[in-house]
């Protein structure tokens, strides 16, 4: 049985249910214990969200960023790094992975940020409500062309992806079901279509055009009736395939990598026991995400799953920033350097490559992305002026003179605690030995030694794991 005050376990929870935390915060949470921390994560309303007004003082353009990067990315990065509602923001990222909507087509970061805000608001609530909100979300409607889905000219893009990618997965419906679902969503469009030129961008909003809605009978997944969009969603959420699909996504995102979605109809889940418990929570709670998340995070499978997942670029960047600090207080040009980092590592937030989102897990890593990951994180931890780095340096310093072995183990502990393979530890040790015992006779040199060891630690393979 894991010790609920074990800082390693708390660090694991915070990495997965959030984006890591500074050493200071981890120690505070370890004192509170695992379950109290989890309940706080599940009920974020008592904690502060990031205050966007503070950001806007320095980056007013990030409120309505238009069609070009990076201001949309700056806005989301500010929330990712600053919110005290860790799990709420993590679930926002989760839904962005699943309901992948991209600027490459939407060409409108204003509306994409509004979609992200909707995920923030509803992402830990009821899945049925979330799907209805998604079906009415202007960025999604535009992304999957539902404004072009007419009574007399059906466009099946949204109807298909709703079934294939957002709720059940291939193999659980027929081509006819796609057609019928699409018909049920005819007339679900967006309003305020003031021409962009010469007036500029106007916010979009959902508009139901009853005249353009197909009022005839539909046959969908064995049900017959004059269905509208919400009826389709009601039928979908009742399908066993839907519970399995959503829970498998959650498992893959929070516990351990599953194969990519197209394999799911062939490859069974790796942890059928936890999947069964999660789908049961999903059904019994009538689709409450919070209930499923509680089942997930209290399971032994989760607690034992430390460092088995490759960090996504967003996780790597945000957790490193949270550890080193200094990205919390806006300043002129805030975010311009950090906001596009996930993009350089293969995860262009607000602009996934397609509606099927990103290939995750091991596929985050290739020779190019690995180099970007190492170079960015090394640059961050090598900066001894950052508060989180200072905190670690001061902790190391407080232990007085350290032999190389103690120096390495202290640094690994303060950065996680991180677990590394013995061969990796040996290399870190050889590096530390080259400088001899860590004394503080020359303060600047010793601080430099600590910072350089931290750089070598984030360059390890082990640091790539969550």
């Amino acid at each position: 049985m894991a010790d609920s005050h074990d800082i390693g376990l708390i660090a694991h929870l915070m990495r997965r249910a959030g984006f890591g935390a500074s050493r200071e915060e981890l120690e505070m949470r370890a004192a509170k214990g695992y379950n109290a921390t989890l309940e706080e994560l599940l009920h974020p309303e008592e904690n502060e969200a990031a205050d966007q007004n503070v950001l806007l003082r320095y980056q007013p353009a990030s409120l309505l960023p238009g069609g070009q990067p990076p201001m949309g990315n700056v806005n989301w990065m500010f929330h990712l790094v600053n919110t005290k509602r860790h799990l709420e923001e993590k679930m926002t990222l989760f839904w962005h992975h699943v309901f992948a909507t991209g600027n490459s087509k939407v060409d409108n970061y204003d509306q994409l940020l509004e979609q992200i805000e909707m995920f923030r608001d509803k992402g830990m609530g009821n899945y049925r409500e979330l799907l209805v909100a998604l079906a009415k979300n202007p960025a999604m409607i535009y992304w999957l062309d539902n404004q072009e889905n007419h009574k007399r000219a059906v466009n099946e893009n949204w109807g298909r992806e709703l079934l294939e990618l957002f709720s059940m997965g291939q193999g659980n419906y027929t081509e006819k079901d796609v057609r019928e679902a699409s018909r049920a969503f005819t007339g679900w469009g967006i309003a305020a279509k003031i021409p962009r030129l010469p007036y500029g961008r106007f916010p979009w909003e959902f508009e139901y055009n009853a005249e353009d809605h197909d009022e005839t009978e539909k046959e969908f997944l064995g049900h017959t009736g004059n269905f509208n969009g919400e009826d389709i969603i009601d039928i979908v959420v009742q399908q066993p395939a839907c519970a399995t699909f959503i829970c498998r996504h959650l498992y893959s995102f929070f516990v351990a990598d599953e194969p990519q979605v197209p394999s799911w109809k062939i490859t069974p889940p790796q942890d059928p026991q936890l999947m069964a418990a999660m789908t049961r929570s999903f059904r019994e709670s009538s689709f409450e995400m919070r209930a499923v998340l509680r089942t997930l995070f209290t399971s032994d499978s989760f607690k034992n799953a430390r460092f088995n997942k490759i960090k996504s670029p967003a996780e790597l960047v945000v957790s490193t920033l949270r550890m080193v600090g200094g990205a919390d207080i806006p300043f002129p040009h805030y975010g311009e350097e950090i906001a596009m980092q996930p993009t350089y590592m293969g995860q262009d937030l607000l602009n996934p490559p397609s509606v099927e989102g990103w290939h995750t897990g091991k596929e985050w890593i290739n020779s190019g992305s690995l180099m970007s990951r190492i170079n960015f994180t090394a640059q961050m931890v090598g900066d001894a002026s950052k508060p989180g780095v200072r905190f670690i340096i001061n902790r190391v310093k407080a232990r007085g003179t350290l032999q190389p072995e103690q120096f390495v183990d202290t640094a690994l502990d303060l950065m996680g605690p991180l677990e590394v393979d013995e061969a990796t530890r040996q290399e870190l040790l050889i590096h530390a030995q080259e400088g001899g015992d860590l004394t503080w006779e020359n303060n600047a040199v010793s601080e430099q030694r600590v910072a350089q060891l931290l750089q070598l630690i984030v360059a390890t393979r082990e640091y790539q794991f969550n």
């Binding site: 072009e148 466009n155 290939h359 897990g361 290739n366 190019g368 690995l370 360059a459």
Partner: protein
């Protein structure tokens, strides 16, 4: 000494609309099926009395006229799933029935360099690695940003640098009992360290009078040219452009994409020709599927059969295979039925250009075409 043949694959991601790329402008069924999303007949660049290029492809017409550009009609495979990822996976792995993990070009790279003697035998220019290139144990240098800033731990300089990189290399080399993902990270780290050392010389050796357009695809092609001209032994380059997923407002978007591709490819070949380095390069373009025959009033939905291209000095220009029938009774769920299997297209490239045995690389025997000069 004869130069080794080099392949450049340009992936048109998102599902390029075949019917508005190579337009069957004299066929009345085109006009019936495309009441809105059509290219006016007087804008089409005719290739013969049946089909013509999209007007945005004007920069490519001269390659066609020179007999250096082939287009392959009706490329695809049976039972298109009409899903981007799935379809792209099939193209990448040649596995239409199961989810494959080995890329066809990853296998080709293993044939070229079985002992991993050159980690830049394959170079990929993309935001992330293309599955077509991926095969466990086969290194691919993946350039995600610009070539100029490519390098490991650039912040550590001076006499410390070599020592730190030595520690890095040793730490990544250990592989005893760490599992496949750690192993994969280990080889990737070591290969990327080696690849960076090699590739970073390319931009410094490069000079050209050709100016590439600012588009992403043109800049990637410039990177391909820089590495090719640096003569580093790279045999396969891979890059992409998109998104061709034009469900709505297709006409403007599709024209812009093809303009970027055509201008970029033209700059690329002009650059190579200027350096007398075009003769051993074959550039091919493909997309995961074509789009539905009938438009949806604003764009086109996911379809099946598409068009592929091959450009280069070794190409026997012209048209191969046939434009699939657009007659209603010949369509499958409203889509063109492919009449040339994409694995046949690959087989031609692998056997006639790269001189490899294609069968184990594409999982079977498929009909070849004759668009490569022998």
């Amino acid at each position: 000494m004869a130069k080794d043949p080099v392949l450049v694959v340009l992936q048109l991601s998102g599902g390029n609309d075949y019917m508005n790329t190579v337009i069957p402008y004299s066929n009345s069924l085109y006009w019936e099926n495309r009441p809105v999303v059509n290219i006016a007949e007087d804008k089409v660049i005719p290739l013969d009395d049946k089909v013509g290029f999209n007007p945005s492809m004007a920069p490519l017409k001269k390659y066609y006229d020179e007999g250096k550009m082939a287009l392959i009609h009706g490329v695809g495979y049976a039972d298109s799933p009409r899903s981007h990822f799935r379809s792209m996976d099939i193209w990448h792995t040649c596995e239409p029935n199961i989810v494959g993990t080995e890329g066809w070009l990853g296998r080709a790279l293993r044939e070229f360099d079985p002992n991993k003697e050159n980690v830049v035998t394959g170079v990929s220019f993309g935001p992330s690695m293309f599955r077509a290139m991926s095969l466990p144990g086969v290194p691919v240098a993946c350039v995600s940003g610009s070539l100029e800033t490519y390098g490991m731990l650039p912040g550590i300089q001076g006499d410390q640098r070599l020592k730190v990189l030595e520690r890095f290399k040793n730490a990544y080399a250990s592989s005893v009992g760490l599992g496949p993902v750690m192993d994969y990270l280990g080889t990737t780290g070591i290969d990327s360290l080696a690849g960076a050392d090699i590739l970073k010389v390319a931009p410094s050796k490069y000079s050209s009078t050709v100016t590439y357009p600012a588009s992403k695809v043109a800049q990637k092609l410039k990177g391909v040219a820089q590495v090719h001209l640096a003569d580093l032994g790279t045999r396969i380059f891979y890059l992409d452009h998109g998104s061709f997923d034009t469900h709505a407002s297709q006409l403007g978007e599709h024209a812009k994409l093809w303009q970027e591709v055509s201008q970029g490819v033209d700059a690329f070949f002009s650059d190579l020709r200027e350096h007398n380095a075009a003769d051993n390069v074959l550039l091919v373009m493909f997309t995961e599927f074509g789009r539905r025959v009938h438009d949806n009033g604003s764009g086109t939905d996911h379809g099946a059969g598409g068009v592929a291209f091959a450009i280069g000095d070794a190409v026997k220009g012209g048209q191969y295979s046939e434009f699939p029938s657009m007659k209603l009774q010949d369509l499958s769920q409203g889509d063109l039925v492919p009449n040339h299997d994409f694995r046949g297209f690959y087989t031609t490239i692998l056997e006639d250009w790269l001189k490899l045995d294609a069968k184990p690389l594409v999982n079977g025997s498929f009909e070849k075409l004759s668009f490569v000069r022998n």
